[in-house]
């Protein structure tokens, strides 16, 4: 069945539509591949195709891997945490339900950093995920399982979530495409929350076309999510081969310092490639982007400290019994949460404390406004802001686990966009040291169609070969 696994999702859906491929065979091929997962990318795989899957939808019965933190009725939804071990929700997340209705049935749940807190997938209570390009290395995170599954060919496509880079960074490190959409365009209902004002679901796919195809069926206002809204444009599949008239803005502050040489070299080559396709390259100032990481690591933990309060052992998930209520709370949370989650709960609790709120949370929110203004100003001059997605290629397992600050620096290029609520995509950008690098394009709110077009033109020109990572094929 290896030829089935070689198809992109769009190719598979087309083959189903023309009758050349039986969706049952398609599902079964991926079910077998994911059941044989040797990267720890999956935490749960379906026994059989769900009966309510509709292969007549545009998504053609192409199965979908879903990050663990999306609630899926009756199937484990553990958010990578021990505190939710074998938690099976009574309902399904809106976006998963929508995609199933459009013809993408649930294939399995993918591993992730606990509550999406991490950039290496080493913070999962269910063990680290291995990078299919090099099993001694991390796949990135927090959507590491989704990225590795797609890169390895264990899934045709996958859902992830991005809060500070959790889709784009693992996509870059695994040599696939990852989109962080405009905040609000995809319902968050049923996503186990990390940082509510930043979290956004998005597709991880083998190419830009699949990204657009999946995203097209994810968008839409949901009555169950007050912060969701209707995308003003219908999402269309991209076809551009040129970038004439397009201006790409490189942050004036990007000097290459702190970025691996190979990553920077690939980035600069792609800028030249873009020029050869007709694009203009310009430097744009993003003076507050440097503060993005600091603001992010106040806002996200602050919201997380509140979002994770519900895991108290009273109603669901793990409980450690004790003689009194306070001990039950503390023991449950002591045993249930991993060290990174505890660190962020502590950070966030502190940042919101009376007397510190203005100095931390209040100030971080003002930085956030400044960053959004920076982008507004930039988009007055350029169509997209472009950066390397991650300053490095995939690093070795354990290399940064003892140094949270070094780990946080992975998010340097990806954090400003969620702070501003704007969309950004990471596309494979050639190899450095035989490992994938990523090229990031960010655009104004609701510019996904234009992002897909530009990313598609670049993707064709770059001609990245992802087959080396596809161990399943």
């Amino acid at each position: 069945m290896s030829d089935i696994l070689d198809l992109t999702a769009k190719q598979a859906a087309d083959a189903v539509a023309t009758g050349d491929l039986d969706p049952k065979d398609l599902y079964e091929a991926y079910r077998a591949a994911s059941a044989a997962d040797d990267l720890n990318a999956y935490v749960w795989v379906a026994d059989a195709a769900p009966a309510d899957g509709d292969a007549s939808g545009e998504l053609g019965g192409v199965p979908l891997a879903v990050k663990d933190l999306f609630c899926t009725e009756g199937a484990p939804s553990q958010a990578g945490s021990k505190i939710l071990e074998d938690y099976r929700p009574p309902y399904t997340a809106t976006v998963v339900r929508k995609l199933a209705q459009a013809g993408a049935p649930l294939l399995g749940k993918t591993n992730q950093d606990e509550f999406a807190m991490g950039s290496s997938n080493e913070n999962s209570a269910y063990g680290p995920v291995l990078n299919p390009w090099d099993r001694t290395r991390v796949p990135g995170g927090s959507s590491g399982g989704s990225a590795a599954a797609v890169a390895a060919g264990y899934a045709p496509w996958a859902l992830g979530t991005d809060t500070g880079g959790s889709i784009r960074q693992p996509a870059a490190l695994c040599g696939i495409v990852g989109l962080k959409p405009t905040y609000g365009t995809v319902s968050r209902y049923g996503m186990i929350a990390f940082a509510s004002s930043l979290d956004q679901a998005g597709p991880l796919t083998r190419d830009v076309t699949d990204s657009a195809l999946l995203y097209r069926h994810m968008v839409g206002r949901d009555g169950r999510d007050s912060t969701s809204l209707e995308h003003p444009e219908e999402i269309v599949l991209p076809s551009a081969t040129r970038l004439d008239g397009i201006t790409l803005g490189v942050p004036a502050e990007l000097s290459g310092e702190g970025v691996e040489d190979g990553v920077m070299a690939r980035f600069e080559e792609t800028l030249k490639l873009a020029e050869s396709l007709g694009a203009t390259i310009r430097r744009v100032p993003l003076p507050h982007a440097d503060y993005g990481l600091s603001a992010y690591y106040v806002i996200a933990p602050a919201e997380a400290s509140s979002n994770l309060a519900r895991f108290d052992g009273v109603r669901y998930g793990a409980r450690v019994d004790a003689d009194d209520l306070l001990s039950m709370y503390t023991r449950t949370r002591h045993d249930g949460f991993g060290p990174e989650v505890k660190r962020r709960i502590m950070l966030g609790t502190y940042a919101l404390s009376s007397g510190y709120y203005d100095a931390y949370y209040g100030r971080a929110q003002r930085v956030r406004t400044k960053i959004a203004e920076d982008f507004d100003n930039a988009f007055a001059d350029v169509d997209f802001v472009v950066t390397p997605t991650s300053p490095s290629v995939a690093f070795e397992l354990g290399a940064k686990t003892d140094d949270p600050l070094a780990m946080y620096l992975n998010d340097y290029f990806t954090v400003p966009m969620p702070l501003a609520g704007i969309p950004a995509i990471s596309i494979p950008n050639g190899l450095s040291e035989d490992l994938p690098t990523g090229f990031q394009l960010a655009g104004p709110a609701f510019s996904e169609n234009r992002i897909f077009e530009a990313a598609y033109a670049l993707e064709q020109a770059i001609g990245f070969d992802g087959s080396k990572g596809r161990v399943a094929a």
Partner: protein, 477 residues
């Protein structure tokens, strides 16, 4: 050495359960004693991944309350998260409003309003075991039916100066809310709950003393008693040279005991921050118009109408307007023909209330409004005397029925007109010759003796004025 006199300074915080169809942030129907945990859904159980959606009807009710209390309505208000751990709080935070509430300022009667905001109610904890409190109970069970019920929290300025004023003002507030139709306002069932912030200070000083917060007073009587007890406790401490400690207190209505729930040091740091799962509440003109149109006549306006249009005196107008059930009964009775407003008002607020008891709703008594109106009319037409009418009312309260029929059956009709009454008056003068002599001499003081004699003879059915007239006539005065 003269003792320092202290005055209480009291502010009230009232939680009102709104009688919307569904909960504040989910689609669950509100619960009225259904089996535990049958009015729940993933959202109000705080299941992972769920999100709140604000109830538009609750915002509408909030605007109505704000208008009724004369508040400034915020064009934009936001919800905050109030973070603390407790088993009745499934998300680990309560969604409430903090520094940008729906309504600010305002006044009801003699008390200024500080703010009104919207929030969600907690679930209900049932503590199993001897203590009945969380501490030292054998087990605690959570019923999430109540969790997420919409609440309006009304906070007053510290304008209340006595326990009696607190209770009287709360009755006005309850009436206002009942008139609005936004809540069942039933204290025993918890749809109206009151906490009081209490401090005392030497009379004549402006500076506020250290306050305590008294919780859990679920009836007007308990509010009055609880506040009284706390004021006395604080004055006692100060008289003994001590200092009041800022703390949250629990009033036990069965024992009257006041116990500390937590001190200032133990107070929660709620770590308020704007609720990122909800967008700001933006009030449109259409929402304001709709709320304004929904406003019924409120007590203050009704009081003015009773005075201006019906000519009631101030005391009657206020009482009938502030106690809506009395006002409703009064207006229903007034629609009967031939009855005058002020005497009817007096009969409702004095005789009827006295007979039915404090807080009773006359609509639930056996006295039909039209029956009372007829009785008052009979008095007005001098067909029944005041005294006889009170006997008729006793009968109406006990058994109901038609006042005219009771008058006839019991022979309580006024002994009216000279024909019937003149012989009785003559007999009375004859029986009291020395009194008659003094009256003849122009000393009218002892006329009461003659009137009393006639009343005794007629079993109170004679008209006092008519008796006096006949006495003068017969004595040629």
């Amino acid at each position: 050495m003269s003792a320092v006199e202290y005055e209480p300074v009291i502010g009230l915080e009232i939680h009102v359960q709104l009688s919307t169809r569904t909960k504040m942030f989910c689609g669950c129907a509100l619960s009225f004693g259904e089996p535990p945990n049958t009015r729940t859904c993933p959202v109000c159980l705080g299941l992972p991944g769920t999100l709140p959606v604000a109830n538009a009807e609750a915002i509408h009710y909030g605007l109505m309350i704000g208008m009724a209390l004369g508040c400034d309505l915020a064009p934009r208000s936001i919800f905050h998260r109030k973070n603390y751990f407790y088993p009745d709080l499934p998300k680990g935070y309560q969604i409430s409003q903090y520094d940008e509430p729906l309504c600010r300022g305002g006044r009801l009667g003699d008390v200024r309003i500080h703010r009104v905001h919207l929030e969600e109610d907690a679930a209900k904890l049932v503590h199993v075991g001897a203590s009945g409190r969380l501490h030292a109970s054998d087990a605690s069970i959570v019923d999430f039916n109540r969790g997420g019920t919409p609440l309006a929290e009304i906070v007053t300025e510290p304008d209340v100066r006595s326990a009696e004023q607190a209770s009287e003002w709360l009755k006005l507030l309850r009436t206002t809310l009942r008139q609005l139709g936004v809540s069942d306002v039933n204290m025993e069932e918890g749809s109206l709950r009151c906490d009081a912030n209490i401090s005392v200070r030497p009379v004549g000083t402006k500076e506020l003393g250290t306050k305590t917060e008294l919780k859990n007073m679920n009836s007007f009587r308990f509010i009055e008693r609880g506040i009284k007890a706390e004021v006395e406790r604080q004055i006692g401490i100060l008289r003994d040279g001590g200092q009041v400690v800022q703390e949250t207190l629990h009033y036990d209505p069965t024992t009257g005991a006041i116990t500390s729930l937590r001190s200032k040091e133990e107070a929660h740091d709620y770590r308020y921050f704007p609720e990122p799962d909800l967008t700001p509440v933006s009030i449109t003109q259409a929402m304001l118009d709709r709320a304004r149109e929904a406003l019924p006549e409120l007590p203050a306006a009704r009081e003015a109408r009773f005075k201006d249009e019906l000519g009631l005196n101030g005391e009657s107008a206020r009482l009938l307007a502030w106690r809506a059930e009395l006002g409703d009964y009064f207006e229903s009775a007034l629609s009967s023909n031939g009855v005058e407003a002020q005497p009817l008002a007096n009969w409702v607020t004095n005789e009827l209330v006295q007979r039915l008891g404090g807080d009773a709703d006359p609509a639930e008594s056996k006295v039909e409004p039209s029956a009372l109106a007829k009785l008052v009319a009979l008095v007005g037409e001098r067909k029944v005397t005041q005294g006889a009418a009170k006997q008729v009312l006793d009968k109406l309260v006990a058994e109901g029925g038609d006042p005219q029929a009771i008058v006839e059956a019991e022979g309580l009709g006024a002994v009216g007109g000279a024909d019937e009454l003149a012989p009785v008056v003559a007999a009375a003068l004859e029986a009291n010759p020395d009194i008659a002599e003094r009256l003849r001499g122009g000393d009218m003081k002892p006329i009461g003796v003659i009137v009393g004699h006639v009343m005794r003879e007629t079993k109170g059915r004679a008209d006092g004025g008519e008796v006096t007239r006949l006495v003068r006539e017969q004595l040629g005065l």
